[in-house]
C-alpha cells in the first residue's frame, strides 16, 4: 500500500517539458517522434499493428514509424504532415508534450503556433544537406518566440557513414548562424532516427560522440527558470461573485498568474484604475494558499472594495507593467489575406479584448538571412515583420522577451473572425 502511495506521488510530482519539433520535408521528423515514442514504450500494440499493416500495404521495407504521427487522411495520402499535432509521452521523471509541426515553407504558421507554448525546440537537419534555408527559418522562429533551449539533431548519420567530420562541419555552420539569434542554450546531437542511434540509446556506430542522447537531454534540461517569477502580473479573467447564502458578500478575482509571486498581505495596484489595496486571501477549491505564482490558476480577494473587471490587471505598486496604446511589435502573419497596412483588427492580449489600427509597417524580415527587407512592406502569409499599432484601450504589457504571457498578442480579422497575426511586443 505504502509502495503504491509513493509510486502515485512520484507520478504526480513529475515535471513537464513542452517541446516543438521542426525540420524540412524528409528530414525524418515523424520517424524521430515515432522512434521516441516507440523506444520509450509509449506505443500500444494496437497502434503498432495498425502501422505495421499500413506499411505492408504501402510496400515499405520496414515498419514506418512516421505513420504513428501522420494523423489526418490527407496526410497519409501525401505522406506529409499538414497540421500541428500534439503527442505525449513520459519517462519516470518527466512528462513530455510534443508539438509536432510541419516543415514546408507554407506551413510556417504552424511552427509559430507550436513554438508559442514550447520550452525547447528540436530542430532536425539531414546530415547530407546540412544547414539549409529552412533550418535558419526554424531557428529564427524558435528564437523569436522566446524558446531558450534548442537541440540541433543531425539526422540520417547512417547515410554519411556516421562521419564525425560531417557532424562537426554542420555544427560549425549552425554555430555561425545561431550567433545572430537569441538562444542561450544549444545542444548538438548526431542521430539516426531510422535506426535509433543516440535517440534513446547511445549509438555504437558513433563512438567518437561523447555527448548525451536526445532523450537524456530532453529529460535533464532545466526549464523552471523559464517562467518569470519576478514581475508580479495577474490578469483578471473572471469576477467570482457567488451571491449565495453561504458566501453572500464574496467577491473574488479569478485568473492565471502571468508572472511574479503574490502573497496575502501584499499591496497590489489595480490597472487601469490605479487604486491600491491589499491581498486578503488567495483561494483555490482545496485550500487558502500562502502564495501564487505562474502558471497557477487562483482566485484572490482584496481588503478593499474597488471596481475591477475582466481585462484589468493586478500588479505591485513598485513594479508595474507598461500601460499604453501605441505598441511596437514583431508580427508573424498567419493568414492568406495579407496584413492591411492601414487596417483595423480585433486583438486579444492577456484577458483583454480590444481593437487596433495598424499605424506603420516598419520593415519585413528575410527570415532566411535575418536581414531587414527595405522597400517591401507587404506582410503576407508566413511573413514576419515589425509593425506599430494603436489600440482602442490601453494595454498593460511587458516586452515579450521579459514575459511571454504579458508580451504576446493575437490579431483577429473582424469579418472572418480568424486569428491572422501573432504579435510579440518589443
Amino acid at each position: 500500500m505504502s509502495n503504491n502511495d509513493t509510486e502515485a506521488q512520484k507520478y504526480l510530482d513529475m515535471d513537464m517539458l513542452r517541446f516543438t519539433t521542426a525540420g524540412s520535408v524528409d528530414d525524418g521528423k515523424s520517424t524521430l517522434i515515432g522512434r521516441l515514442l516507440y523506444d520509450s514504450k509509449s506505443i500500444f500494440d494496437d497502434q503498432m499493428e495498425k502501422i505495421e499493416e499500413s506499411s505492408r500495404k504501402k510496400g515499405d521495407e520496414y515498419t514506418n514509424l512516421a505513420l504513428l504521427t501522420d494523423g489526418l487522411s490527407a496526410e497519409r495520402e501525401q505522406g506529409i504532415t499538414i497540421d500541428v499535432a500534439y503527442r505525449y509521452f513520459s519517462t519516470p521523471n518527466r512528462k513530455f508534450i510534443i508539438a509536432d509541426t510541419p516543415g514546408h515553407v507554407q506551413y510556417t504558421r504552424n511552427m509559430v503556433t507550436g513554438a508559442s507554448t514550447a520550452n525547447l525546440a528540436v530542430i532536425l537537419v539531414d546530415a547530407r544537406n546540412g544547414v539549409i534555408e529552412q533550418t535558419c527559418r526554424h531557428s529564427f522562429i524558435a528564437s523569436l518566440l522566446g524558446i531558450k533551449h534548442v537541440v540541433l539533431c543531425v539526422n540520417k548519420m547512417d547515410l554519411v557513414d556516421y562521419s564525425e567530420e560531417r557532424f562537426k562541419e554542420i555544427r560549425e555552420e549552425f554555430k555561425t548562424f545561431s550567433s545572430k539569434l537569441d538562444v542561450p542554450d544549444i545542444h548538438y546531437i548526431p542521430i539516426s532516427a531510422l535506426y535509433g542511434d543516440n535517440v534513446v540509446d547511445k549509438s555504437d556506430n558513433m563512438p567518437w560522440y561523447g555527448g548525451s542522447t536526445l532523450l537524456y537531454t530532453l529529460e535533464n534540461v532545466q526549464v523552471d527558470s523559464d517562467y518569470n517569477h519576478v514581475d508580479s502580473r495577474f490578469p483578471v479573467q473572471w469576477v467570482n461573485r457567488p451571491q449565495s447564502t453561504e458566501y453572500p458578500d464574496y467577491r473574488g478575482y479569478s485568473g492565471q498568474v502571468a508572472g511574479g509571486v503574490f502573497k496575502p498581505g501584499d499591496e497590489v495596484i489595480a490597472l487601469p484604475s490605479g487604486f491600491t489595496s491589499t491581498i486578503d486571501t488567495i483561494n483555490t477549491f482545496e485550500a487558502e494558499q500562502e502564495e501564487a505564482f505562474s502558471p497557477m490558476s487562483v482566485t484572490m480577494t482584496l481588503e478593499d472594495d474597488i471596481d475591477i473587471s475582466r481585462g484589468d490587471m493586478l500588479a505591485k505598486p513598485d513594479n508595474q507593467p507598461t500601460v499604453g496604446q501605441d505598441i511596437d511589435m514583431m508580427v508573424c502573419w498567419l493568414n492568406k489575406e495579407p496584413l492591411d497596412p492601414s487596417g483595423k483588427y480585433a486583438i486579444k492580449h492577456t484577458t483583454k479584448e480590444a481593437r487596433c489600427i495598424i499605424k506603420d509597417v516598419k520593415y519585413k524580415v528575410n527570415i532566411n538571412t535575418l536581414h531587414r527587407v527595405e522597400g517591401d512592406k507587404e506582410i503576407g502569409l508566413n511573413d514576419i515583420g515589425r509593425i506599430k499599432i494603436r489600440t482602442t484601450k490601453p494595454l498593460f504589457y511587458d516586452a515579450y522577451k521579459r514575459n511571454r504571457k504579458t508580451g504576446s498578442i493575437i490579431l483577429i480579422d473582424e469579418y472572418t473572425n480568424e486569428t491572422v497575426g501573432a504579435g510579440m511586443i518589443l
Partner: protein, 301 residues
Amino acid sequence: MHLYKLNHIRQLESESIHIMREVAAQFENPVLMFSGGKDSITMARLAQKAFWPGNIPFPFLHVDTGHNFPETIEFRDQLMDELGVELIVAHVQDMIDEGKVKAPKGPNPSRNKLQIPTLLNALEEHGFDAAFGGARRDEEKARAKERFFSHRDEFGQWDPKNQRPELWNLYNGKKNHGEHFRVFPLSNWTEMDVWQYIAAEQIDIPSLYLAHERQVVQREGTYLAKSDYITLTEDEEYETKQVRFRTIGDMTCTGAFASDATTLPQVIEEVASARITERGNRTDDKKAEAAMEERKKQGYF
C-alpha cells in the same frame, strides 16, 4: 532558495481551469457535454474548482442513446445532485420517434452515429454557443490535431485543414451567428494523467471501471455486455466473466476486458502496463483507419 515549481498534474489542472473560465467569460451560453465517463467526471471536478466558491455557471448536457449502462445513469444523476447543476438530456430515441434519424439494425445496432444529429439538434434547440468535451489528444490520431477552442460551422462541421492557429494561452472564441465552438479542456491530459488525478483527488467513478462479474459475449476480439440491445448470432452465447471497462459508451459498442482490478490503484497499475490503447476495445473506431476523423468532421464529440 525557494523554488516556484508546479508539478505536471497541477500545471495541467491550471491550464484546464483557465480554459473553463475563458469559455464562461467569452461565450453567452456554454454547456458541458457529460457522458458519465471518467473524462467528463474529471471535467466536472475542474469546473467545480474553476468557479468555486461560486456555482458552475453552465448546465451539463447528456446525449442519451437509450443504450446506456444503467450504472452510468445512476451515477450521473447522483453527481448532478451533488454539484447542483442543471442536466439536460437529449434522447436519441426522441430523434428516432420524430423521424429525424433512422435506427440501425443488425447484431450490434450501434447508435453511435445517431449521437451526431441528436447532439447538433440539442445544441441548436438550446442555442448553446460553446460545448465542452472531454476528448484528449492522446486518444486517437485525428484528435492529436484538435485545438482547445475548436470552431464549428453552422452545420456543426469540423474542418481539420482550416483550423485557426492557437497561440500561447490566447483563445479566440469569435464566431458568426449560428456557429459554435467545441472546447476541450483536457486536450493535454493522457489517460494516465486522468486516472492519477481521479485517485489523487479521490473522485468517485462509476463501478463499471472496476472489475466485476458480468454476463458477456465475445465478439470481434472484445467482450460486449449482455443487454436487450444486442442480438446473439447462432454460434454465440453469453458467459460470466470478471471484467471491467476502460471507456464507457454505448452498451452495444463498448467492449469490456478480463480484469482483476477491483480498486483504483489496481486500475492504475493495469493502465500503466496495458499494451493496447483504451479505444482499442471500441468497435466504432475499428471500422476504418480514418473512422474517428470522419465522425469528427460531421460533428462528433
